[in-house]
């Protein structure tokens, strides 16, 4: 439900970056989103479409969402391991003092834009 709010921030930021580069159109936005966040790909896509559809500058732009698998480091044995959303235990030593090193990110990686012809 908060994807619309999140996506409003994304669209504002990418528009500003595209205009600063002198672009005439926004073609594509690439995001990285950790699986441990509460942001859902389909809801992000829906919000993106709703927010880009009525502006000729952004209309038809593509959204690419790369989901990042959670990864933790065990602070007891030092092992680094991927895991799902539900189990954080270290698979090597069963340790439970662990630190999440990936899986909570929400980042705008890059955009593709059209530039005016020379």
């Amino acid at each position: 439900m908060h994807e619309l709010g999140i996506m409003t921030g994304v669209v504002d930021s990418v528009k500003a970056a595209a205009l600063e580069a002198g672009a005439t159109r926004l073609l594509k936005v690439s995001l990285s989103v950790g699986e441990m966040t509460e942001a859902v790909d389909t809801a992000l896509q829906f919000a993106f479409e709703a927010l880009t559809d009525d502006d000729p500058f952004t209309k038809g732009a593509q959204l690419e969402v790369k989901m990042i698998r959670p990864c933790s480091r065990c602070l007891e044995c030092g092992a680094e391991y991927e895991h799902d959303r539900f189990s954080m235990f270290c698979p090597e030593c069963d340790g439970f003092v662990t630190e999440l090193i990936a899986g909570r990110e929400m980042q705008i990686d890059s955009i593709e834009v059209d530039l005016p012809e020379e």
């Binding site: 908060h2 441990m36 942001a39 929400m106 980042q107 705008i108 955009i111």
Partner: protein
Amino acid sequence: MHIDMKQPILAKNDSLAAQLRARFAENHVFVLDILASPGSGKTSTILATIDALRDEFNIAVIEGDIASSVDAEKIKAQGIPAVQINTGGACHLESAMIKRAIDVLDLERLDLIIIENVGNLVCPTDFDLGENAKVMILSVPEGDDKPLKYPGVFQIAEAVILNKVDTMPVFNFNNEAFVESVTRLNPQAPIFPISATTGQGVEEWTNWLADQIRKA
């Protein structure tokens, strides 16, 4: 043309949250963000917490709700400063709302600010408010399977409160299964079984909280 951005999506919220965190630290205020479903007993738990800690700490409460000031009135009736934020439909609090709320609080004389987030187990988990700790409350009637359905909120919590434990015999709540799934999701978080209205278990919770406030 390809333009690299590498910019956090919630950059605006996160940088404001960092500013708030610095301001809280400067004023030696501990900030607790409480996440839970509607009806889980957030306000009752806050009232019980105030009761236990008000002799030692100066406390204020920020109430986040979509509408109404019912909760803030309950807190004010106890002689505790309370600020009501109405999100007007938004499903979570953001740091800009907290910034406006603390403008009316006297940070210098406060030791503890309790933020009661909007009743929601999903969206508030993604928003940093500059707090020292997020704590989540689940109540027994909601069922022991909630950690499996809403893993994010159980993962981000520094501690988990299980409220309304006095109703356990009525609701067929499998405590063992609950503790096991919380422990898998968040092995480091303590679990406090309490009943905010009877007072059962409240002391263990408030002792833990008092320790966190003193350590901060």
